[in-house]
Amino acid sequence: MSKIKTENVNVYYGSKQALFDVSVDIAEKEVTALIGPSGCGKSTFLRCLNRMNDVIEICRVEGSIKMDNLELNSRKLDVVRLRENVGMVFQKPNPFPKTIYENVAYGPTIHGIAQSKEEMDQIVETSLKKAALWNEVKDRLDEIGTGLSGGQQQRLCIARAISVSPEVILMDEPCSALDPIATAQIEELIDDLKKEVTIVIVTHSMSQAARVSQKTGFFHLGKLIEFGPTDKIFKNPDNQQTQDYITGRFG
């Protein structure tokens, strides 16, 4: 079932066009990987899905982006509500310089999800457990989040993202700053999370895309070259450019 459907999305940074007519269907409770060389527009596309491009003043998005038939690319859309439903994990772990507890509790607090302290404790615990971080931090929830290791910080960011029970989580190269062990932990986590949430992940590592995703989209120079089941993209792509990129002939 389709969760997010985009049609002819064009993105401009000032006069420079960054995305050209991107139309894609992102399926519910699946992992969709976006791959492609640097500067191909995959992160720009990802940021369209929770309107993070709003932050960039010169950025302009055209076209239709629908989530469950709700038009996201509209002035009337309440971005705050949207971002409650669409969480995001960034390339570099960016926990707030606050305690581990406060990091996870921030979203539920501003969105008024927990009614009581007990409920909040519960949310924090569940989120940290889902992010496979609970056992490591349960005795030091009042320590500063930025004091954790890189991999732990990234899992804390994932716990923070899932604390408001979003329907979609966007991940922008979540493992690029991590070592292989931390990367493996995050990938395992992604596998678990997809039972409940739709995940869109941008990655530079093709092996990661192959390991974690069900669908893969290949971007090149702002165009979505090919989109399809991961198996097919990696084993038998229709497009020659995809074939070249996958086999490492360019990119």
Partner: protein, 423 residues
């Protein structure tokens, strides 16, 4: 290695060694200037923290005090006539002195000696009728002689202390009746025309009130302006124009702000002249750009990833700013504020223009009472001819420097203790 390469290498090492020496010499020069400056001030000023007293005996004679009552009340003591008692206390130092010469003795103590005689009895009513020793504030001339700041070998007609007075001084000093104690009144007394009585209480309080008023006006305005400009305002020609002008404002000479205070606060709004309220507002105009620039710089230093994290969690712009960016920028903003205030603390010119240079011999209790300020006090005293004021100027500078060092220390502590380090 051939000789050309060897030479080149040697040259490079020599160049580096030379450069390091230049740096060391520069630092040495700066330090020696500072040392000379500090030595100047301390060697001149430390004696101001000592006060000289002349000890004599006073006879609280009921007849001379014109007290009739058998057991006089507090009011009787208050209204008694102390002139003769005090006069006798001084002239008893040299009973052989002809009456027409007695001024020479009286001049050796401060003109408030009569009040001091009165105060002692008011504090100890049982001294009535008795002969008791009393400490009287020495005049600034005797004070300076005692501190060896006054040359004794110049001709008598050029001296403010004549030979007779020196003779009396030497006699008292030998008897141990010249006391030198810590000068509490320097910190508790307001300004005075008499160097031995002058203190920094009124200017210190004036400075404190001015700084508080300055903080109250400039901090909220500057922080709000900085937050709006940095976090909410669109970036366009107009905001660029504002930014340039704020930077220009920081470079405006302070006397111009003084004229503004004079022309607007005093002339248009009719605020009370010579008060810390007006001084503080005038100084806040100066501090404003400093705080805005510091606050904007520290807002800018908050990594964008924190803003993105908050926005991606669904925080509104306002929440992102108030929950994350502003708290994280506060240490930098606060230390910038303290440094701005420290600058304002040392300002003299604008305060002179708004009348805080007036001679104030009361201690202000509120920001709307007339007051001086420490730097202006330095200026006022430095214009006084009496030798007694020379050490006061240096002592006042020491107090001001201590104040400044404390504030800068506070700024450093705030910065280092609370600032987040971004890895």
């Amino acid at each position: 290695m051939n000789s050309f390469k060897k030479n080149l290498l040697k040259k490079r090492y020599n160049a580096e060694r030379r450069f390091q020496w230049y740096g060391k010499i520069a630092i040495g020069l700066a330090l020696s200037f500072l040392t000379v400056f500090m030595f100047q001030i301390f060697s001149k000023g430390y004696s101001a923290f000592q006060k000289t007293w002349i000890v004599t005996e006073v006879h609280y004679d009921k007849e001379l005090l014109l007290i009739d009552a058998e057991s006089p009340s507090k009011d009787d003591l208050e209204n008694a006539d102390y002139y003769d008692v005090a006069y006798k206390a001084m002239t008893s130092l040299d009973p052989g002195l002809p009456e027409e010469e007695d001024r020479q003795l009286i001049q050796m103590v401060s003109y408030k000696y009569e009040a001091e005689v009165k105060d002692l009895l008011l504090k100890n009513p049982d001294y009535l009728g008795k002969i008791v020793p009393i400490k009287l504030t020495a005049s600034d001339d005797v004070d300076q002689v005692h501190k060896r700041n006054y040359p004794r070998d110049i001709p008598e007609e050029n001296r403010r202390v004549n030979d007779y007075q020196l003779q009396i001084y030497d006699m008292l000093n030998e008897r141990g009746d010249i006391l030198s104690e810590f000068n509490i009144s320097f910190f508790t007394s307001p300004d005075s025309r008499e160097a031995e009585l002058a203190g920094i209480a009124s200017s210190f309080m004036g400075t404190v009130f001015s700084i508080l008023v300055c903080l109250a006006f400039s901090f909220p305005v500057a922080v709000l302006a900085a937050i709006y400009l940095e976090e909410f305002a669109p970036k366009n020609k107009f905001t660029d124009f504002i930014e340039v002008n704020i930077n220009n404002l920081a470079a405006v000479p302070s006397i111009v702000f003084g004229l503004l205070g004079l022309g607007v606060l005093l002339a248009v709004f009719n605020l009370p002249r010579s008060t810390p309220l007006v001084g503080g507002i005038t100084l806040s105009l100066m501090t404003l750009p400093t705080i805005i620039i510091a606050a904007r710089a520290s807002l800018k230093a908050v990594p964008p990833s924190i803003r993105e994290a908050a926005l991606a969690m669904g925080a509104s712009n306002m929440q992102t700013t108030m929950h994350h960016t502003v708290p994280l920028s506060m240490p930098g903003t606060l230390s910038g504020t303290i440094i701005g205030l420290a600058q304002a603390l040392g300002e003299t010119a604008p305060l002179i223009l708004i009348g805080m240079v007036a001679f104030v011999n009361t201690i202000p209790g509120t920001p709307v009472d007339p007051a001086a300020s420490l730097p202006v006090q330095i200026y006022i005293w430095s214009e006084s001819a009496e030798r007694g004021f020379v050490e006061k100027v240096s002592a006042c500078i020491m107090v001001l420097l201590a104040f400044l060092i404390l504030m800068n220390l506070a700024a450093q502590i705030v910065r280092h203790k609370f600032e987040k380090k971004w890895s």
